[in-house]
Structures are given as C-alpha cells and as structure tokens.
C-alpha cells in the first residue's frame, strides 16, 4: 500500500516545509527556553564547583552569601580553621556591581560579580581553579582575573569604585548564579570596594564625628582619631569557605561550627538547594509557564494547519471513503501528516536552537535529554492536534462524493 500521507506531502511540499519552518521556530524558542533554564542551573552548579568549598560559613540565620547578604568579621576564619576536621578556611567576599572598563575610548560598563579572594594563593578555596590566559593574582592590590564572558582582555584596566585594576589573567565559566561573569580581586581591595565611601561621604562623616562632643572630648586625646579610623576600615567578609579533611563528613564538621561559633553553615547539598530550588525557583516557574504557553501555541498551530489541510481534501476524503478506503487508513494519513509536520518542525527548531544558543547573553545549555524529551513532546502534541482533523474526516459522508 502506498503512503497517502507521504504522497500528499510530496505533492504540497512547499506548504509543509514553510509551515514546518514556522512551527520549527516556535519549537526552537521552546528548546532555547529549556536551555536557559538548564543554563541557570548549570551557572549555580559551576558557582559551587568553582568555589572549591565543602562548607559555607555565613552570618547566623542568613542564607548567604549568594542568596542573601551576610557579614562576618574577617578574623572569624581563624577560629573555624582550628575546628576538628577543617583542612582550610578562607575569607571571601561577593559583590555584584557594574565594573567599568577604564582603558577604552568609550567607557563600557560590565555587570559582574566581584569576588574578593584571600591571599592564600592559587588552589585555595575561592580562587579561580584554572586560567585560560595570563596568570593568577600575585600582588596584594590592583590586579584582577576576569571571566572571558566579561569581554575583558589581558592588560585591560578596570575601575571598581575609585581604584583601577589590571587584568592579569582570564578564566572561563566562572559566573554568578545570575550568569554574571566574575572578576577576582584581592580580598582587601574587595572589602574596600564593598564598604569604602566616596570622598565627600568620608568628609561628611569626619565632620559629624568631630562635631559630636561625645567623640571629640577635650580631655581624651586620640579618641577622635580612633573613631575616625574605625569608621574608615572594613573588617567584614561575606563568608568563610571551608574545606574538610579526608575522613570527615560535611555534617560532622559543620555541626560544631554551628554550635560553638554560633554561625550558619551550609553543606554543598544545602547550598545547592538554596541556589537551585530557592534562588532560581521563580525564574524556573516563569520559564515553565512560557514553555507551557509555547506548547499550547504550537499545538494550536499544528491543529489549525492540519485541520485546514484536511478541509482542503474533504472531497477527496469523501471519494476515498466511497471507494472503500478504511477509516483507519484516512486517520493514519492525517496523523502521519501531523507527525511529519512535527518532524520537520523539530528538525528546524533543533537547528535553530543550536545555532542561536551561543548568541544569547546568558549561558544556554542544550541537553541531549531535553531534545529527546522535546522530540517526543512535539510528536505527542502533533498527534493530539491531528485528532480534531481526524474526527472531522471520519464524519465526512461518502455520499458527498455523489451529487444531489
């Protein structure tokens, strides 16, 4: 038996191909949306992986340092390092801000997560684990390592607050959970960047302290200077990254830190839960809604196209039924056409998504599993969408082929 669906498609291939391309663009958008969601999760995971930490010690009762702000004294790490099972403890600061490229003719701002890393050297928790160009930070001030997604190049000068930094190294896939590229600078510089005020604010602060009789006492020399000095320095970090010794579990090490240091400690599993299930939960729901809408629109388009194509063949279907064609043959013809349309659409969509994904500013991760699931979803949607047309075709009276 010849394939009626195949012959019809070959006969009207232009109609099928152009409809398939239109459908394919919709499917491509859906695949990219899924890729955006996967990219967000991957961004969160690489953030955890690249930090190199087993535990995140943060301010008590906060979910920092990524999901909420957190402040710890910068000497807290010493006590943590002495706890049982702790191999290393490193201060770290995170601050998402606009970083200005200072050496370009036209000033250019880049949204970046500025990471302040403790001066413990490469390989320590918080440091970029690998570079694609240049070297790690070796000086204690004004050097930076940037993710290549920031667009910075070796030798570029960045301006963070009032200070300028030279890019000495480039890394890749070092991004925040929002997908912003990271810029690593020395911890002291980062602390300054977070808390240092501009000159006018410092001047005003000093004036207020000087005019305050409680601070500026005639009989207590040095008090005012001490207060001004304490206001001008920042002793805070956002978190302490802890690595644990072999033979210890994360929970074993975390429990005494929580108990004795009265701090909040997150294991990797807990931090993953915060980043994936809490931080991007709303975004993922948003994307899920878009995908549902796109699926409904795709189904409506396929249903409409198949319905129209079937309507165009009402007389032929009546003739086919009159000359003895089984209902299942006619139903199969319509369903095969819907599936063929889905196949063309999926192929176009997959190609579109593959080529379009790198053009998106945020990381789009196209997973083979998602594509396979998408393929079956498209086929199911097309099969369901063809049911309306099949129902109509089966109701066609063969007598319509005969006049009168």
């Amino acid at each position: 038996m010849i394939s009626l669906a195949g012959r019809d498609i070959l006969h009207a291939w232009g109609k099928f191909v152009f409809t398939g391309i239109g459908l394919g663009l919709l499917i491509g958008v859906t695949l990219v949306m899924a890729g955006v969601y996967r990219g967000m999760i991957d961004d969160a995971m690489v953030l955890l992986d690249n930090s190199g930490a087993d535990l995140w010690v943060v301010q008590k009762d906060t979910q920092g340092p990524y999901a909420e702000s957190s402040s710890l004294y910068d000497d807290t790490w010493r006590g943590i390092a002495a706890m049982p099972g702790v191999a290393s403890a490193n201060n770290i600061t995170y601050l998402t801000m606009q970083v200005r490229a200072a050496n370009h003719g036209q000033p250019r701002d880049v949204r970046a997560m500025v990471v302040g890393i403790a001066p413990d050297g490469p390989g320590s928790a918080g440091w970029p684990p690998y570079l694609v160009a240049g070297r790690q930070i070796t000086r204690s001030h004004y050097e930076a390592v940037a993710d290549i997604a920031s667009g910075f190049k070796l030798g570029d000068t960045l301006q963070i607050r009032r200070n300028r930094y030279t890019v000495v190294g480039l890394t890749r896939r070092m991004v925040s959970s929002n997908g912003d590229p990271m810029v690593f600078i020395p911890l002291k510089d980062a602390q300054q960047a977070q808390f240092l005020k501009d000159n006018e604010a410092i001047l005003q602060q000093r004036r207020r302290a000087t005019e305050n009789p409680a601070f500026n006492r005639p009989g207590v020399p040095g008090l005012l200077d001490a207060i001004i000095a304490s206001q001008s320095t920042n002793n805070y970090v956002n978190a302490v990254l802890v690595r644990i010794k072999p033979g210890y579990t994360a929970d074993e090490v975390a429990a005494p830190i929580r108990r004795w240091k009265r701090l909040t400690v997150f294991t990797r599993a807990q931090m993953q839960d915060i980043l994936v299930n809490k931080l991007i939960a709303t975004a993922s729901k948003q994307i899920g809604m878009f995908m549902v809408i796109l699926a409904i629109v795709s189904a409506a388009i396929v249903a409409f196209i198949i319905y129209t194509l079937t309507m165009d063949k009402i007389r032929e279907i009546a003739v086919l039924k009159l000359i003895g064609t089984r209902n299942r043959t006619i139903a199969a013809m319509i369903m095969q056409q819907a599936l063929a349309l889905g196949l063309i659409g999926f192929a176009v969509g997959k190609i579109t998504a593959t080529f379009a994904a790198p053009l998106f500013p945020k990381f789009v991760l196209l997973m083979p599993g998602d594509s396979i699931a998408g393929f079956f979803a498209v086929m199911v949607i097309c099969a369901l969408a063809s049911l309306v047309a099949i129902r109509m075709a089966l109701k066609v009276d063969p007598a319509e082929a005969i006049g009168g």
Partner: protein, 236 residues
Amino acid sequence: MTGRGIRIEGLKKRYGSGDTAVDALKGVDMEVAPGEVVGLVGPSGSGKSTLLKCLGAVIEPTAGRMTLGNEVIYDDGWKIRDLRALRRDKIGFVFQAPYLIPFLDVTDNVALLPMLAGEPNGKARQRALELLTALDVQHRAKAMPSQLSGGEQQRVAIARGLVNRPPVILADEPTAPLDSVRALAVIRILGDMAKRYQTAVIVVTHDEKIIPTFKRIYHIRDGVTHEEAGEGRGFD
C-alpha cells in the same frame, strides 16, 4: 440474470419521519444485465441521486431488495456486513467531476483500489496500466491529475471505476462537464468497457447529447421508475 449485473425490486427510501417524512423512492424496479449500459434520467428532485446512493450502498434504503449478480445485498436490510468492502470490490463509481486524488499520479489513482483491497503494489499498478492502455491514456500514466485535460481525467476516472472488475458501475453525470464530442466518446468507452468486462453500467444523466445512445432508459419521476426503449445509437 447471469453471475454479474444488478436487479432492484420495490426499492423504497423515506427521509425523516411523521408529518415531515419524504418518500424519495416509492418502489423502484430496475434490472441491468452484464455488459449493458442503461440510462437513468429524470428531473431534479426526482430521486436519481437517492437511487444512486442506495445502489452504491452509501445510504440504506427503507425497504425493497437488491441483488448484485447472484448475491442478495439488501432485502429489507443489508445482507452484507462490510459495506465498505462491497463498494470497493463490487461497485465502480464514475462521478460528474473526475475527483481524482490530486497527490497521486494517474497510475496510482487507478491502482489505489486494488491496493486498498490488499493487492501488491506492483500487481495493482500492472492492472492499472492495462486499463489505462485500453482507455488510451497510458501515455499519461506518470502525469499528475492537474496535468490532464478534462477528457483524459474522465477516462482515468473510468479506469479507476473498472479496475477491480466490479459487476456494476454507477456513473453520476459523467459527461456533464464535457463537450458533445468528448461526452459521446466517454459513453462509447463505458459501452466498450461494459462489454469487455461484462459489467452492468447505470448512467445517471440529463445530458440530451447522450440520451439517444442508450438502448434502454429508466425514467424516474417522484420516486418511481418507468422503463422505455432508447434509440441505442451509441454502442453498435
């Protein structure tokens, strides 16, 4: 009647019920022998199409008896369970417009019926080509229907109606869209094929050009048929 041909006795068809019931057929008697071509003529609303639909097993009559060859297919109820197979294997249709399947070429349009009946594609196409040759359109075997003239399309439609060697062919105004030369040619072809394949052919028409070609004509009016001898000039 021999093993082919069709006989109808007292066939009735009522549409609706109660006060709104309409008796489209009020007891039609008709007999067409194998190899014979008869005309069925009548004004609009006389019951021609209803009769054709009953004969084609498309609608169910209300009462009467229909015999196809030696097989009773209707006797106050269908005696055949699979009407679709009956239409496919025992009844050939030729329509006013050819209604060829536009996405199949000429050969496959004709070969589709035997393929639907389960015949292998190659054998079905071979049979189609034989018929196309008999109807002198074999040179358009690979053409699509849209590439054919009106006369060629109608000949392909006749080939499709004949391909399963049905005992009866029902032709519904087969010459309506054709000029008189082509119309007479189509009727001549139907006559030739009826003789060659011993098929009974019923041609529904009110085409004055072809009515004189029939030897026997059934006039239908108000759901009742009257048989009369025709001039019968077309087939001898």
